[in-house]
Symmetry: C2
């Protein structure tokens, strides 16, 4: 069953700010185009979901395990000091979960990342190398 067949389509704002890493059983895994922090987003491929409570219990269990898979892959690939996980949906209603690699020396540490540093684009080679490593880790998970 394709994403389209489920009635799901990725919000255009999220799509414009990310590139796709891979698909996990429930979620699209996306990489933020902001190179300031290695930053994944997980978007459950279900239509009309805004809150965690809108998912079924089984889907929530899947999402939690996919958050942990994404966290573990991000930590192994980047060697970060901490993982930050958040879901807000204040600006884009479609449920999306941020999984962010944090370093003691990053632009916002120890604060949350929002509103601190302006987005900075990746160099293409660096972004592609990161995508390759993340895909390998997530495929092995």
């Amino acid at each position: 069953m394709t994403s389209q067949a489920l009635g799901f389509s990725l919000n255009s704002v999220i799509a414009s700010e990310t590139v796709q890493v891979c698909e996990l059983p429930l979620s699209l895994v996306l990489l933020s185009q902001d190179a300031t922090y290695p930053w994944l987003m997980l978007v459950p491929r279900r239509p009309d979901i805004a809150e965690l409570a809108d998912l079924s219990r089984h889907e929530r269990e899947m999402l939690m395990e996919e958050i942990v898979q994404a966290s573990t892959a991000l930590k192994e690939v980047t060697g970060c000091d901490k993982i930050n996980v958040a879901t807000f949906g204040n600006m884009v209603a479609q449920l999306h979960c941020h999984v962010i690699a944090r370093f003691h020396v990053d632009a916002a540490w120890p604060k949350p990342v929002w509103g601190i540093a302006p987005p900075r684009p990746y160099e293409t080679a660096a972004r592609d190398a990161l995508l390759t490593k993340l895909r390998q880790k997530l495929a092995a998970a």
Copy 2:
């Protein structure tokens, strides 16, 4: 089995910034003393846990369901427009999960709450009324 018997003790910074709402099977549920936003924190009663990945799969499923119970109670009691959920642990390592009621008219909307408005204390009667309602909802969940 008491929290103490499990080797768990609540971090002193979290304790100083919250009051206890109740205990769920895995987590302590705490109310932030900052009246700017109705704001719960869930702290799994397990020692030495910093990341979601440090919990067992079963404990993560419990935490996810307790986040949804806390979210639902908070939404019903406050009539908020959106629930924000986050776990950072950059300043306090002990795993704690923020569950925050957001309103289209609150001090930070639509941004995340951190670093926007200085903490504002509750009036005791208002805080106690909120605690009573939250305890009733969470006991019924």
